[in-house]
Amino acid sequence: MTYALEILDLKKTYPGGTEALKGISLTVKEGDFYALLGPNGAGKSSTIGIIGSLVTKTSGMVKIFGIDADKDIAEAKTMLGVVSQEINFSQFEKVMDIVVTQAGFYGIPKSEAMPKVENILKRLSLWDKRNVQARTLSGGYKRRLMIAKALVHNPKLLILDEPTAGVDIELRREMWIFLKEINKNGTTIILTTHYLEEAEQLCRNIGIIDHGTMVADTSMKDLLGTLNVQGYVFDLIEPLEEAPLIEGFPLKLEDSLTLVAAVNKDRSINALFSEFSKLNIKIKSMRNESNRLEELFIEMVNSNEK
Protein backbone atom coordinates (compact mmCIF):
# COMPACT_ATOMS: atom_id res chain seq x y z
CA MET A 1 0.00 0.00 0.00
CA THR A 2 1.39 3.38 -0.99
CA TYR A 3 0.60 6.20 1.35
CA ALA A 4 0.54 9.76 0.11
CA LEU A 5 0.97 10.94 3.67
CA GLU A 6 2.04 9.24 6.86
CA ILE A 7 2.12 11.13 10.13
CA LEU A 8 3.36 9.44 13.26
CA ASP A 9 3.11 10.80 16.79
CA LEU A 10 3.32 14.41 15.64
CA LYS A 11 3.66 16.92 18.45
CA LYS A 12 3.82 20.69 18.44
CA THR A 13 4.20 22.98 21.42
CA TYR A 14 4.41 26.69 20.62
CA PRO A 15 6.91 28.92 22.44
CA GLY A 16 4.17 30.30 24.73
CA GLY A 17 3.52 26.74 25.95
CA THR A 18 0.38 26.05 23.90
CA GLU A 19 0.29 22.36 23.07
CA ALA A 20 -1.30 22.41 19.62
CA LEU A 21 -0.63 18.77 18.71
CA LYS A 22 -0.39 16.08 21.35
CA GLY A 23 0.94 13.23 19.22
CA ILE A 24 -1.37 12.73 16.26
CA SER A 25 -0.94 9.88 13.79
CA LEU A 26 -2.75 9.42 10.51
CA THR A 27 -2.29 7.92 7.07
CA VAL A 28 -3.74 9.03 3.77
CA LYS A 29 -3.73 6.56 0.88
CA GLU A 30 -2.55 7.51 -2.58
CA GLY A 31 -5.47 8.81 -4.66
CA ASP A 32 -7.62 9.50 -1.60
CA PHE A 33 -9.80 12.54 -1.02
CA TYR A 34 -9.39 13.02 2.71
CA ALA A 35 -11.16 15.49 4.98
CA LEU A 36 -9.34 16.76 8.05
CA LEU A 37 -11.91 18.40 10.25
CA GLY A 38 -11.91 20.01 13.63
CA PRO A 39 -13.13 23.11 15.45
CA ASN A 40 -11.10 26.33 15.46
CA GLY A 41 -7.81 25.86 17.30
CA ALA A 42 -8.02 22.06 17.08
CA GLY A 43 -4.60 21.74 15.43
CA LYS A 44 -5.53 21.39 11.73
CA SER A 45 -3.51 24.35 10.53
CA SER A 46 -0.55 23.37 12.73
CA THR A 47 -0.61 19.92 11.13
CA ILE A 48 -0.75 21.37 7.62
CA GLY A 49 1.90 23.95 8.52
CA ILE A 50 4.28 21.20 9.64
CA ILE A 51 3.65 19.15 6.48
CA GLY A 52 4.32 22.25 4.36
CA SER A 53 7.42 23.33 6.35
CA LEU A 54 5.72 26.50 7.55
CA VAL A 55 5.68 25.35 11.17
CA THR A 56 8.53 23.62 12.98
CA LYS A 57 7.43 20.41 14.67
CA THR A 58 8.39 19.59 18.23
CA SER A 59 8.66 15.86 17.51
CA GLY A 60 7.21 13.12 15.35
CA MET A 61 7.56 11.99 11.77
CA VAL A 62 6.07 13.13 8.46
CA LYS A 63 6.45 11.07 5.28
CA ILE A 64 5.21 12.22 1.90
CA PHE A 65 4.95 9.36 -0.59
CA GLY A 66 7.35 7.39 1.55
CA ILE A 67 9.94 10.17 1.74
CA ASP A 68 10.84 11.16 5.28
CA ALA A 69 10.67 14.97 5.42
CA ASP A 70 13.53 14.99 7.95
CA LYS A 71 15.82 13.14 5.56
CA ASP A 72 15.02 14.64 2.14
CA ILE A 73 12.83 17.69 2.63
CA ALA A 74 13.48 19.02 -0.89
CA GLU A 75 12.30 15.82 -2.58
CA ALA A 76 9.29 15.61 -0.26
CA LYS A 77 8.37 19.20 -1.10
CA THR A 78 8.32 18.54 -4.85
CA MET A 79 5.46 16.07 -4.23
CA LEU A 80 3.44 18.59 -2.28
CA GLY A 81 1.18 21.54 -3.11
CA VAL A 82 -0.36 23.57 -0.32
CA VAL A 83 -3.22 26.05 -0.51
CA SER A 84 -2.97 28.02 2.71
CA GLN A 85 -5.91 29.43 4.61
CA GLU A 86 -4.73 33.03 4.22
CA ILE A 87 -3.82 34.81 1.00
CA ASN A 88 -0.06 34.42 0.62
CA PHE A 89 0.99 36.01 -2.65
CA SER A 90 2.31 39.46 -3.46
CA GLN A 91 -0.78 41.55 -4.06
CA PHE A 92 1.09 43.95 -6.32
CA GLU A 93 2.11 41.42 -8.96
CA LYS A 94 0.16 40.25 -11.97
CA VAL A 95 -1.68 36.96 -11.85
CA MET A 96 0.47 35.41 -14.58
CA ASP A 97 3.73 36.54 -12.96
CA ILE A 98 2.71 35.07 -9.60
CA VAL A 99 2.06 31.63 -11.04
CA VAL A 100 5.11 31.63 -13.34
CA THR A 101 7.30 32.73 -10.41
CA GLN A 102 5.92 29.95 -8.24
CA ALA A 103 6.83 27.45 -10.96
CA GLY A 104 10.32 28.95 -11.02
CA PHE A 105 10.72 28.31 -7.29
CA TYR A 106 10.22 24.62 -8.11
CA GLY A 107 12.96 24.78 -10.74
CA ILE A 108 10.62 25.01 -13.73
CA PRO A 109 11.90 27.64 -16.21
CA LYS A 110 9.47 30.16 -17.65
CA SER A 111 9.47 28.64 -21.15
CA GLU A 112 8.51 25.25 -19.73
CA ALA A 113 6.03 26.68 -17.23
CA MET A 114 4.03 28.82 -19.67
CA PRO A 115 1.93 26.03 -21.27
CA LYS A 116 1.17 24.61 -17.80
CA VAL A 117 0.29 28.04 -16.44
CA GLU A 118 -2.02 28.73 -19.38
CA ASN A 119 -3.76 25.40 -18.90
CA ILE A 120 -4.27 25.87 -15.15
CA LEU A 121 -5.40 29.49 -15.45
CA LYS A 122 -7.92 28.50 -18.12
CA ARG A 123 -9.24 25.61 -16.04
CA LEU A 124 -9.70 27.94 -13.09
CA SER A 125 -11.28 30.70 -15.23
CA LEU A 126 -8.36 33.02 -14.47
CA TRP A 127 -6.93 33.29 -17.97
CA ASP A 128 -8.84 36.50 -18.78
CA LYS A 129 -7.39 38.06 -15.63
CA ARG A 130 -3.80 36.96 -16.21
CA ASN A 131 -2.53 40.51 -16.69
CA VAL A 132 -4.32 42.20 -13.80
CA GLN A 133 -2.72 42.95 -10.45
CA ALA A 134 -3.65 40.32 -7.89
CA ARG A 135 -4.91 42.90 -5.40
CA THR A 136 -7.74 43.85 -7.76
CA LEU A 137 -9.14 40.30 -7.83
CA SER A 138 -12.28 39.44 -5.89
CA GLY A 139 -12.01 37.05 -2.93
CA GLY A 140 -13.14 34.09 -5.01
CA TYR A 141 -10.60 34.71 -7.74
CA LYS A 142 -7.84 35.10 -5.14
CA ARG A 143 -8.75 31.64 -3.86
CA ARG A 144 -8.52 30.28 -7.40
CA LEU A 145 -5.13 31.92 -7.80
CA MET A 146 -3.96 30.18 -4.62
CA ILE A 147 -5.02 26.84 -6.11
CA ALA A 148 -3.33 27.65 -9.45
CA LYS A 149 -0.08 28.39 -7.61
CA ALA A 150 -0.24 25.15 -5.66
CA LEU A 151 -0.84 23.08 -8.80
CA VAL A 152 1.71 24.60 -11.16
CA HIS A 153 4.39 21.99 -10.40
CA ASN A 154 1.96 19.04 -10.71
CA PRO A 155 2.07 17.91 -7.06
CA LYS A 156 0.99 14.36 -6.26
CA LEU A 157 -0.44 15.50 -2.94
CA LEU A 158 -2.53 18.66 -2.69
CA ILE A 159 -3.47 20.06 0.72
CA LEU A 160 -6.18 22.70 0.88
CA ASP A 161 -6.71 24.57 4.13
CA GLU A 162 -10.27 25.89 3.97
CA PRO A 163 -10.14 26.72 0.24
CA THR A 164 -13.77 27.79 0.00
CA ALA A 165 -13.93 30.01 3.09
CA GLY A 166 -15.83 33.17 2.21
CA VAL A 167 -16.55 31.96 -1.33
CA ASP A 168 -20.06 32.19 -2.77
CA ILE A 169 -22.08 29.03 -3.42
CA GLU A 170 -21.66 29.07 -7.19
CA LEU A 171 -17.89 29.33 -7.02
CA ARG A 172 -17.76 26.74 -4.25
CA ARG A 173 -19.62 24.27 -6.47
CA GLU A 174 -17.26 25.07 -9.36
CA MET A 175 -14.29 24.38 -7.08
CA TRP A 176 -15.83 21.08 -5.99
CA ILE A 177 -16.09 19.99 -9.62
CA PHE A 178 -12.51 21.08 -10.27
CA LEU A 179 -11.16 19.29 -7.19
CA LYS A 180 -13.08 16.11 -8.00
CA GLU A 181 -11.62 16.21 -11.50
CA ILE A 182 -7.99 16.53 -10.38
CA ASN A 183 -8.55 13.85 -7.74
CA LYS A 184 -9.97 11.57 -10.45
CA ASN A 185 -6.84 12.23 -12.48
CA GLY A 186 -4.67 10.91 -9.66
CA THR A 187 -3.91 13.78 -7.29
CA THR A 188 -4.35 12.87 -3.64
CA ILE A 189 -6.25 15.64 -1.85
CA ILE A 190 -6.44 16.54 1.81
CA LEU A 191 -9.04 19.15 2.64
CA THR A 192 -9.85 21.06 5.77
CA THR A 193 -13.11 22.90 5.81
CA HIS A 194 -15.72 24.33 8.09
CA TYR A 195 -18.42 23.43 5.58
CA LEU A 196 -19.17 19.89 6.64
CA GLU A 197 -21.46 19.45 3.67
CA GLU A 198 -18.38 20.05 1.53
CA ALA A 199 -16.46 17.26 3.26
CA GLU A 200 -19.44 14.94 2.96
CA GLN A 201 -19.82 15.68 -0.74
CA LEU A 202 -16.15 15.39 -1.69
CA CYS A 203 -14.23 13.15 0.66
CA ARG A 204 -13.99 9.38 0.93
CA ASN A 205 -12.10 9.32 4.22
CA ILE A 206 -12.15 11.60 7.19
CA GLY A 207 -10.08 12.51 10.22
CA ILE A 208 -11.43 14.59 13.05
CA ILE A 209 -8.96 16.41 15.24
CA ASP A 210 -9.77 18.18 18.47
CA HIS A 211 -7.54 19.72 21.14
CA GLY A 212 -4.50 18.32 19.32
CA THR A 213 -5.64 14.71 19.26
CA MET A 214 -7.31 12.57 16.60
CA VAL A 215 -10.84 11.67 17.67
CA ALA A 216 -11.69 9.85 14.43
CA ASP A 217 -9.82 8.51 11.41
CA THR A 218 -12.10 6.43 9.27
CA SER A 219 -14.07 6.29 6.01
CA MET A 220 -16.86 8.78 5.47
CA LYS A 221 -19.26 5.88 4.86
CA ASP A 222 -18.40 4.16 8.14
CA LEU A 223 -18.58 7.39 10.06
CA LEU A 224 -21.98 8.31 8.68
CA GLY A 225 -23.05 4.72 9.32
CA THR A 226 -22.64 5.33 13.03
CA LEU A 227 -25.35 7.94 12.91
CA ASN A 228 -28.49 6.53 14.49
CA VAL A 229 -30.89 9.17 13.33
CA GLN A 230 -31.55 10.45 9.83
CA GLY A 231 -33.26 13.79 9.32
CA TYR A 232 -35.89 14.23 6.62
CA VAL A 233 -37.43 17.47 5.41
CA PHE A 234 -41.02 17.33 4.10
CA ASP A 235 -42.48 20.14 1.99
CA LEU A 236 -46.24 20.24 2.63
CA ILE A 237 -49.06 20.99 0.20
CA GLU A 238 -51.29 22.49 2.90
CA PRO A 239 -50.00 24.57 5.82
CA LEU A 240 -49.99 23.34 9.40
CA GLU A 241 -50.30 25.43 12.53
CA GLU A 242 -48.28 23.12 14.72
CA ALA A 243 -46.21 19.95 14.37
CA PRO A 244 -48.32 16.79 14.75
CA LEU A 245 -47.53 14.33 17.54
CA ILE A 246 -46.64 10.93 16.12
CA GLU A 247 -45.23 8.31 18.47
CA GLY A 248 -41.63 7.32 17.68
CA PHE A 249 -41.14 10.14 15.16
CA PRO A 250 -40.14 13.49 16.70
CA LEU A 251 -41.39 16.21 14.36
CA LYS A 252 -40.58 19.89 14.15
CA LEU A 253 -42.35 22.55 12.10
CA GLU A 254 -39.73 24.77 10.47
CA ASP A 255 -42.43 26.96 8.96
CA SER A 256 -46.08 26.32 8.16
CA LEU A 257 -45.17 24.38 4.99
CA THR A 258 -41.98 22.60 6.10
CA LEU A 259 -41.91 19.68 8.48
CA VAL A 260 -38.69 18.10 9.74
CA ALA A 261 -38.61 14.54 11.08
CA ALA A 262 -35.86 12.67 12.92
CA VAL A 263 -36.19 9.02 11.95
CA ASN A 264 -34.32 6.39 13.91
CA LYS A 265 -32.31 3.99 11.74
CA ASP A 266 -34.27 0.97 12.93
CA ARG A 267 -37.64 2.51 12.00
CA SER A 268 -39.19 2.33 8.54
CA ILE A 269 -40.09 5.59 6.94
CA ASN A 270 -43.20 3.89 5.51
CA ALA A 271 -44.65 3.95 9.02
CA LEU A 272 -44.24 7.70 9.07
CA PHE A 273 -46.01 8.06 5.71
CA SER A 274 -48.88 5.91 7.04
CA GLU A 275 -49.22 8.25 10.00
CA PHE A 276 -49.20 11.26 7.68
CA SER A 277 -52.03 9.68 5.63
CA LYS A 278 -54.07 9.05 8.76
CA LEU A 279 -53.69 12.68 9.78
CA ASN A 280 -54.43 13.83 6.19
CA ILE A 281 -51.05 15.54 5.90
CA LYS A 282 -50.24 15.85 2.20
CA ILE A 283 -46.57 15.77 1.20
CA LYS A 284 -45.41 17.65 -1.89
CA SER A 285 -41.76 16.57 -1.77
CA MET A 286 -39.15 15.13 0.57
CA ARG A 287 -35.37 15.41 0.95
CA ASN A 288 -32.60 14.33 3.31
CA GLU A 289 -31.48 16.80 5.88
CA SER A 290 -27.90 17.60 4.81
CA ASN A 291 -26.35 18.07 8.23
CA ARG A 292 -25.63 14.43 9.04
CA LEU A 293 -21.91 14.96 9.32
CA GLU A 294 -22.44 18.12 11.32
CA GLU A 295 -24.37 16.19 13.95
CA LEU A 296 -21.62 13.60 14.22
CA PHE A 297 -18.93 16.23 14.32
CA ILE A 298 -20.58 18.10 17.17
CA GLU A 299 -21.22 14.85 19.00
CA MET A 300 -17.58 13.75 18.71
CA VAL A 301 -16.09 17.08 19.63
CA ASN A 302 -18.43 17.43 22.62
CA SER A 303 -17.64 13.94 23.89
CA ASN A 304 -13.92 14.68 23.53
CA GLU A 305 -14.33 17.76 25.71
CA LYS A 306 -16.06 15.80 28.50
Binding site: G49, S53, T78, L80, N88, F89, Q91, D97, T101, P109
Partner: protein, 259 residues
Protein backbone atom coordinates in the same frame (compact mmCIF):
# COMPACT_ATOMS: atom_id res chain seq x y z
CA UNK B 1 15.34 19.70 -5.67
CA UNK B 2 18.35 17.60 -6.38
CA UNK B 3 19.58 18.87 -9.71
CA UNK B 4 21.76 21.91 -9.79
CA UNK B 5 19.83 23.08 -12.83
CA UNK B 6 16.58 23.28 -10.85
CA UNK B 7 18.28 25.15 -8.02
CA UNK B 8 19.79 27.61 -10.49
CA UNK B 9 16.35 28.16 -12.07
CA UNK B 10 14.83 28.86 -8.66
CA UNK B 11 17.67 31.23 -7.76
CA UNK B 12 17.31 33.04 -11.08
CA UNK B 13 13.53 33.30 -10.53
CA UNK B 14 13.92 34.87 -7.10
CA UNK B 15 16.67 37.24 -8.25
CA UNK B 16 14.62 38.42 -11.24
CA UNK B 17 11.59 38.83 -8.97
CA UNK B 18 13.63 40.97 -6.58
CA UNK B 19 15.07 43.14 -9.37
CA UNK B 20 11.65 43.48 -11.01
CA UNK B 21 10.26 44.63 -7.64
CA UNK B 22 12.53 47.65 -7.28
CA UNK B 23 12.39 48.48 -10.99
CA UNK B 24 8.57 48.43 -10.88
CA UNK B 25 8.63 51.15 -8.20
CA UNK B 26 11.53 53.06 -9.77
CA UNK B 27 10.05 56.41 -8.76
CA UNK B 28 10.47 55.36 -5.12
CA UNK B 29 13.74 53.47 -5.50
CA UNK B 30 15.89 54.96 -8.27
CA UNK B 31 14.86 58.60 -8.58
CA UNK B 32 15.16 59.81 -4.95
CA UNK B 33 18.91 59.04 -4.60
CA UNK B 34 19.59 60.85 -7.88
CA UNK B 35 17.65 63.91 -6.71
CA UNK B 36 19.14 63.92 -3.21
CA UNK B 37 22.69 63.52 -4.46
CA UNK B 38 22.17 66.28 -7.03
CA UNK B 39 21.24 68.57 -4.14
CA UNK B 40 24.34 67.50 -2.18
CA UNK B 41 26.53 68.27 -5.21
CA UNK B 42 24.85 71.63 -5.79
CA UNK B 43 24.94 72.79 -2.17
CA UNK B 44 28.08 71.18 -0.71
CA UNK B 45 29.98 70.77 -3.96
CA UNK B 46 29.30 73.80 -6.13
CA UNK B 47 28.12 76.42 -3.59
CA UNK B 48 29.93 75.70 -0.31
CA UNK B 49 32.72 73.46 -1.65
CA UNK B 50 34.88 76.21 -3.20
CA UNK B 51 34.88 78.07 0.16
CA UNK B 52 36.05 74.93 1.97
CA UNK B 53 38.96 74.54 -0.44
CA UNK B 54 40.73 71.21 -0.80
CA UNK B 55 40.46 68.03 1.29
CA UNK B 56 43.51 65.71 1.36
CA UNK B 57 44.72 67.48 -1.77
CA UNK B 58 41.49 67.07 -3.77
CA UNK B 59 38.76 69.54 -4.71
CA UNK B 60 36.05 69.23 -2.09
CA UNK B 61 33.42 68.12 -4.60
CA UNK B 62 35.86 65.54 -5.97
CA UNK B 63 36.53 64.30 -2.41
CA UNK B 64 32.79 64.00 -1.71
CA UNK B 65 31.96 61.86 -4.75
CA UNK B 66 33.18 58.46 -3.43
CA UNK B 67 31.58 59.15 -0.04
CA UNK B 68 28.22 60.02 -1.53
CA UNK B 69 28.31 56.98 -3.81
CA UNK B 70 29.01 54.77 -0.79
CA UNK B 71 26.26 56.49 1.19
CA UNK B 72 23.82 55.64 -1.59
CA UNK B 73 25.03 52.08 -2.10
CA UNK B 74 24.90 51.26 1.62
CA UNK B 75 21.45 52.70 2.26
CA UNK B 76 19.90 51.30 -0.91
CA UNK B 77 21.24 47.76 -0.70
CA UNK B 78 20.26 47.66 2.99
CA UNK B 79 16.81 49.15 2.42
CA UNK B 80 16.10 46.94 -0.56
CA UNK B 81 16.57 43.70 1.32
CA UNK B 82 15.07 44.82 4.62
CA UNK B 83 11.91 46.16 2.97
CA UNK B 84 11.56 43.31 0.49
CA UNK B 85 12.10 40.49 2.96
CA UNK B 86 9.93 42.12 5.61
CA UNK B 87 7.21 42.66 2.99
CA UNK B 88 7.17 38.99 2.02
CA UNK B 89 6.93 38.15 5.71
CA UNK B 90 4.16 40.68 6.23
CA UNK B 91 2.20 39.57 3.16
CA UNK B 92 2.90 35.92 4.01
CA UNK B 93 4.27 35.37 0.51
CA UNK B 94 7.37 34.03 2.26
CA UNK B 95 5.28 30.84 2.36
CA UNK B 96 5.76 30.56 -1.43
CA UNK B 97 9.47 30.12 -0.78
CA UNK B 98 9.24 28.01 2.37
CA UNK B 99 6.86 25.51 0.77
CA UNK B 100 9.07 25.23 -2.32
CA UNK B 101 12.15 22.97 -2.42
CA UNK B 102 14.54 25.94 -2.71
CA UNK B 103 17.53 25.51 -0.41
CA UNK B 104 18.06 28.18 2.23
CA UNK B 105 21.30 29.39 0.68
CA UNK B 106 19.48 30.06 -2.61
CA UNK B 107 16.75 32.03 -0.81
CA UNK B 108 19.39 34.15 0.94
CA UNK B 109 21.43 34.62 -2.24
CA UNK B 110 18.33 35.65 -4.22
CA UNK B 111 17.51 38.45 -1.78
CA UNK B 112 21.16 39.52 -1.52
CA UNK B 113 21.54 39.65 -5.31
CA UNK B 114 18.44 41.84 -5.44
CA UNK B 115 19.99 44.20 -2.90
CA UNK B 116 23.33 44.18 -4.70
CA UNK B 117 21.64 44.92 -8.03
CA UNK B 118 19.88 47.95 -6.57
CA UNK B 119 22.93 49.15 -4.67
CA UNK B 120 25.23 48.90 -7.68
CA UNK B 121 22.68 50.45 -10.03
CA UNK B 122 22.22 53.38 -7.65
CA UNK B 123 26.02 53.64 -7.36
CA UNK B 124 26.30 54.09 -11.12
CA UNK B 125 23.39 56.56 -11.17
CA UNK B 126 25.01 58.72 -8.48
CA UNK B 127 28.35 58.50 -10.26
CA UNK B 128 26.59 59.63 -13.46
CA UNK B 129 25.05 62.57 -11.60
CA UNK B 130 28.45 63.47 -10.12
CA UNK B 131 29.97 63.66 -13.60
CA UNK B 132 27.50 66.44 -14.43
CA UNK B 133 29.01 68.51 -11.60
CA UNK B 134 32.61 67.30 -11.95
CA UNK B 135 33.12 66.04 -15.53
CA UNK B 136 36.91 65.63 -15.16
CA UNK B 137 36.62 62.86 -12.55
CA UNK B 138 38.74 59.80 -13.30
CA UNK B 139 38.74 56.57 -11.32
CA UNK B 140 42.19 55.81 -9.88
CA UNK B 141 41.80 52.05 -9.42
CA UNK B 142 38.75 50.61 -11.24
CA UNK B 143 39.30 47.05 -10.01
CA UNK B 144 39.45 48.06 -6.36
CA UNK B 145 36.50 50.41 -6.87
CA UNK B 146 34.27 47.68 -8.35
CA UNK B 147 35.43 45.14 -5.75
CA UNK B 148 34.60 47.43 -2.84
CA UNK B 149 31.32 48.45 -4.47
CA UNK B 150 30.21 44.80 -4.74
CA UNK B 151 31.50 43.76 -1.30
CA UNK B 152 29.79 46.73 0.35
CA UNK B 153 26.50 46.00 -1.39
CA UNK B 154 26.72 42.34 -0.30
CA UNK B 155 27.61 43.27 3.29
CA UNK B 156 24.72 45.69 3.76
CA UNK B 157 22.25 43.44 1.95
CA UNK B 158 23.08 40.78 4.53
CA UNK B 159 22.61 43.29 7.34
CA UNK B 160 19.25 44.27 5.88
CA UNK B 161 18.27 40.60 5.76
CA UNK B 162 19.02 40.12 9.44
CA UNK B 163 17.09 43.27 10.32
CA UNK B 164 14.09 41.93 8.37
CA UNK B 165 14.32 38.50 10.02
CA UNK B 166 13.87 40.07 13.46
CA UNK B 167 11.45 42.84 12.42
CA UNK B 168 7.91 42.55 13.72
CA UNK B 169 6.60 45.85 12.38
CA UNK B 170 7.38 48.47 9.77
CA UNK B 171 8.87 50.59 12.59
CA UNK B 172 11.46 47.88 13.16
CA UNK B 173 12.75 48.13 9.60
CA UNK B 174 13.29 51.88 9.79
CA UNK B 175 14.81 52.18 13.28
CA UNK B 176 18.24 50.76 12.43
CA UNK B 177 18.69 52.63 9.12
CA UNK B 178 17.55 55.91 10.66
CA UNK B 179 19.16 55.84 14.09
CA UNK B 180 22.26 53.70 13.58
CA UNK B 181 23.23 53.27 9.95
CA UNK B 182 22.81 56.82 8.67
CA UNK B 183 24.62 58.54 11.58
CA UNK B 184 27.50 56.07 11.33
CA UNK B 185 27.82 56.66 7.58
CA UNK B 186 27.70 60.46 7.94
CA UNK B 187 30.32 60.27 10.68
CA UNK B 188 32.34 57.75 8.70
CA UNK B 189 34.11 60.24 6.48
CA UNK B 190 31.59 60.81 3.70
CA UNK B 191 32.10 64.57 3.82
CA UNK B 192 35.48 64.94 5.49
CA UNK B 193 38.83 63.34 6.17
CA UNK B 194 39.33 62.22 9.77
CA UNK B 195 42.75 63.94 9.56
CA UNK B 196 40.98 67.27 10.14
CA UNK B 197 39.48 66.02 13.42
CA UNK B 198 41.05 66.55 16.89
CA UNK B 199 42.95 63.48 18.12
CA UNK B 200 40.21 62.27 20.43
CA UNK B 201 37.54 62.36 17.71
CA UNK B 202 39.92 60.79 15.23
CA UNK B 203 40.46 57.88 17.64
CA UNK B 204 36.71 57.51 18.21
CA UNK B 205 36.13 57.60 14.44
CA UNK B 206 38.52 54.67 13.99
CA UNK B 207 35.95 52.52 15.83
CA UNK B 208 33.30 53.33 13.23
CA UNK B 209 33.14 50.44 10.71
CA UNK B 210 31.68 52.74 8.05
CA UNK B 211 34.96 54.67 7.99
CA UNK B 212 36.73 51.63 6.56
CA UNK B 213 34.10 51.01 3.90
CA UNK B 214 34.00 54.65 2.77
CA UNK B 215 37.76 55.09 2.79
CA UNK B 216 38.51 51.85 0.97
CA UNK B 217 36.14 52.95 -1.76
CA UNK B 218 37.75 56.40 -1.78
CA UNK B 219 41.12 54.71 -2.24
CA UNK B 220 39.71 52.95 -5.30
CA UNK B 221 38.23 56.11 -6.79
CA UNK B 222 40.77 58.74 -5.76
CA UNK B 223 43.82 56.81 -4.60
CA UNK B 224 43.59 58.38 -1.13
CA UNK B 225 42.51 56.85 2.15
CA UNK B 226 42.67 57.42 5.92
CA UNK B 227 42.89 53.68 6.68
CA UNK B 228 44.79 50.51 5.72
CA UNK B 229 43.18 49.02 2.60
CA UNK B 230 44.19 45.41 3.18
CA UNK B 231 42.89 45.58 6.76
CA UNK B 232 39.61 47.11 5.56
CA UNK B 233 39.08 44.55 2.80
CA UNK B 234 39.86 41.77 5.24
CA UNK B 235 37.34 43.10 7.75
CA UNK B 236 34.64 43.51 5.10
CA UNK B 237 35.18 39.91 3.91
CA UNK B 238 35.19 38.63 7.50
CA UNK B 239 31.91 40.43 8.26
CA UNK B 240 30.36 39.03 5.08
CA UNK B 241 31.35 35.51 6.13
CA UNK B 242 30.02 35.97 9.68
CA UNK B 243 26.74 37.53 8.54
CA UNK B 244 26.21 34.87 5.85
CA UNK B 245 26.62 32.19 8.50
CA UNK B 246 24.19 34.01 10.79
CA UNK B 247 21.58 34.44 8.03
CA UNK B 248 21.76 30.74 7.08
CA UNK B 249 21.46 29.78 10.74
CA UNK B 250 18.35 31.96 11.15
CA UNK B 251 16.82 30.52 7.97
CA UNK B 252 17.48 26.97 9.10
CA UNK B 253 16.09 27.65 12.54
CA UNK B 254 13.12 29.49 11.03
CA UNK B 255 13.70 32.59 13.16
CA UNK B 256 11.00 35.14 12.43
CA UNK B 257 9.58 33.12 9.54
CA UNK B 258 8.43 29.79 10.95
CA UNK B 259 6.30 29.24 14.02
Amino acid sequence: MKSNYKVSVSLWTLTVKEIRRFLRIWVQTLVPPAVTMSLYFVIFGSLIGPRIGSMDGFDYIQYMIPGLIMLSVITNSYNNVVSSFYSVKFQKSIEELLISPMPNWAILLGFVLGGVARGVLIGFIVFGVSLIFYPDFTVANPLLTITVLLLTAILFSLMGFINAVFADSFDDISIIPTFILTPLIYLGGVFYSINILPDIWRSISMANPMLYVVNTFREGMLGASDVSISFSLGMICAFIAILTGACLYFLKKGTGIRQ
